[in-house]
Symmetry: D2
């Protein structure tokens, strides 16, 4: 299945005294995957915000299968898991050296600068629909 | 219901350009609540690690109800939600000015320094059982 | 010499795989000390920003004498070191268990929302002058 | 002058409510530059630690010239500024869109796992000497 992949070299900053990545930091990796997913689908989140459209996080979940460590190269695989009337859900897999490290998801409503829900503009809706079709087709 | 409460003054560092706390940072507040929950129940996590007992995070989830902002005083309410044979689950509520901001949970297996599962020592088991009884009793 | 003191319990999040606080995190402790220094001198930084006055960091320096570790209680001592025509400098000492851990300083110009330098309003100038006198007097 | 360059795409996580990168985060970018500088000169810091050699930070300084913002691509230029008998100093320049954003330096003693100073092994000394010659030669 097609999905967006980015590579991240784990900095020392992200480790903790257990010698592995501290659990909250994977959410930052998710965000980096999400930004690149949007870019790959013709959407620049920075520009969206400049136009008054925001995707705050509504909920998230994370499962920790195996730890990432300092200097590891990990890959964040990002996919659009759902697009509803008022929100979109991304799912993530982080792998390293071919092993599954972390999985998770985040849900985002579309809101304006005052955090009021906003209808998806037609163009944005079309981009998400096309992306969803492409990522979830059989071939 | 009894539960452990700690106060956190939100630092500027934890905000993002949306003007609210970045979503990953609440997991750090959960951790601070967890450490104090353990201390309040006679368990010092630092000492546990010194004895070779670790509580890494196995999974977590988080719902964002309302944003915390710079300089807000928030309260993290921590409770033992479940204690299984091999893991414990904490649940959290973060409130500010009487409003619910964030809820979530984290699950932790007990492992040794090589990350192998460890049976709960009797004393530790007893502490968690007593805490669970106290937090979930009717009165 | 009088100065503002705050206590911080070191979270696990702030440690790294050397088993001590990662060096960048002390700058967050400085910021927390700075916010409380301002509050103690009748200035709320949140309100300052609401009025269009910002104190971004212009430069900073940090010396690491001895490491802080997970669960340590450390104290951040903040003092106004200099007040110039266009900027103020704070200096910091972080101690733990009576030992000096980290020292440092940060310099802040006063700017408006577009980052243009701003003259200190008379009231703000007076607050800093009074604070400086108080912290640097002999008695 | 030759030096090691790495690119970093600024994540949302690193911004603050001023809409720019929070000042402590640049120290993480410095660390990432340092790790790659070592790798480019045949030294893997992960392996160094595995052999019991550590480079904690002894002091650091940072000047903020112009802010980096969300989604900016910045370049961290890392150079060996000094190599003394007991420590090495790196200097950094962070640029974005051709503009100088941040400059700084970090000093690191060589220590063992108990934080006792260690003489530079001959091979390590030779690597630093060769790097210094190369980075500071006229041609």
């Amino acid at each position: 299945m097609p999905k967006t992949e980015i590579s991240i070299r784990i900095p020392y900053a992200d480790t903790d005294q257990m010698g592995m990545v501290y659990y909250a930091n994977y959410l930052v990796y998710f965000e980096r995957g999400r930004t690149e997913w949007l870019r790959e689908h013709g959407l620049c989140y920075r520009d969206m915000e400049a136009q008054g459209l925001y995707f705050p996080v509504m909920d998230c979940s994370c499962k920790y299968h195996s730890p990432a460590r300092y200097d590891d190269m990990v890959i964040v695989h990002t996919r659009l898991a759902q697009r509803g009337a008022a929100s979109v859900t991304f799912s993530y897999e982080i792998t390293g050296a071919g092993r599954l490290l972390v999985t998770g998801s985040t849900r985002h409503p579309l809101v304006d600068a005052t955090f009021k829900p906003v209808r998806f503009p037609a163009e944005l809706r079309a981009s998400f629909d096309a992306a969803y079709e492409k990522e979830n087709s059989d071939c």
